[in-house]
Amino acid sequence: MKVTLWGTRGSVPSPGPENVRYGGNTACVEVRGADGSLLILDAGSGVRRLGTVIGPEVGRIDILLTHLHMDHILGLGFFAPLYQEGLEVHIWGPPSAGHDLGTRLARYYLSRPLFPVRLRDLPCDLKLHDVERGVFSIPGFEVTADLVLHPGPTVGYRIRENGASLAYLPDHEPALGAREFPGSPEWISGFDLAHGADLLIHDAQYTVAEYSDHVGWGHSAMSHMLAFARAADVARLVTFHHDPAHSDTDIDCFVEEAQAAGLPFPVEAGQEGATYQVGD
């Protein structure tokens, strides 16, 4: 599978000269299968640009939402394929205890006064799916979803194709409340999703100093991300959900520090436009 990053920023779009290299768009990752299948992870502001390059050869699009915080859905209304009559678009995401995905999307975003076009008025052939924890198949991929530590119903995903695996945990605070971290694997949020993955895309929002003022906000310090990735024995790590206040220079420094730590896997900063080949 080929993985392309269209938005690696967290919380809120953060365009500006200080963020030119890593980008200011929020969470969006394109995954293309060997057979051309198109899967999109999250629909932050980065999904708008992705929508402009999807050709007519694509007959079905699957969008997997990790959760419904605004930085992960705000691009949906500007995703051109949703306005393409008859195009099959499947949106997958977690329900809450009281509402299914469709109700939640309509209520919290795609309805007035927040947005002029109602979810039910979109001309594409839209199909909404509640994601529970478990394994399911979509064209080209096997998907595993599991709840992870982040406020509100939030899942992480593991995408498999021909034995290769991508783990995607963009908003994740596995160290929350842990007396020792990472500790035993059975007590680590997200461990099964990430274990042995060929590529892990993981929350890297805070420095250790910043984390102490944001405990419980649902995100990781860089050190937590590294400890998690090491425990999960991943082959490659890409940082994600960069804090809006972190400039390109800041991110360079964080990643250089991480690389100097002697990790058994390469780590690099998630950059808008970067592509990764996972498996053959």
């Binding site: 529970e132 478990g134 599991d146 709840l147 059975e186 949020s189 274990h195």
Partner: protein
Amino acid sequence: MGALPPGAGANHTMAQMEIELILMRQLASHLTMPIFLYGPDEDLLYFNEAAEKLIGISFDDAAPMPPDRLAALFRTKTEEGKRLPSSQLPIVIALRERRPVHQPVRFRSLDGVSRTIDLTAIPLDGQGGRQLGAVAIFWERKEEEAAE
């Protein structure tokens, strides 16, 4: 959608706990009330430092045991001193009947001290009808401690 297989991610032998159990354990580790956490198969998953102090054994030293064995080890009785059958243990009711129970219970710690406590047992239910286990909270009555 298929159930998540144990160790879905790879070949490790211990299946990761459900996220709600991870959160419950982490919360319990910070609370000062003695708390016991059971899984859906009635397996004792964790008890906190306050519980260790109350019953006189550390979690790391405790062998895995179901509620009835733990109750027998600590000679659990009703407040009136009658034997409490395993089916009437609050944690067993919470696990099997999926309802909360709050009742006084007498037991003897490994230090030989007999204590009467109020015990609250609560089932833990997750989204999608998942039965996650149950938690038992011991409320101590320190003024009633007496050496047996």
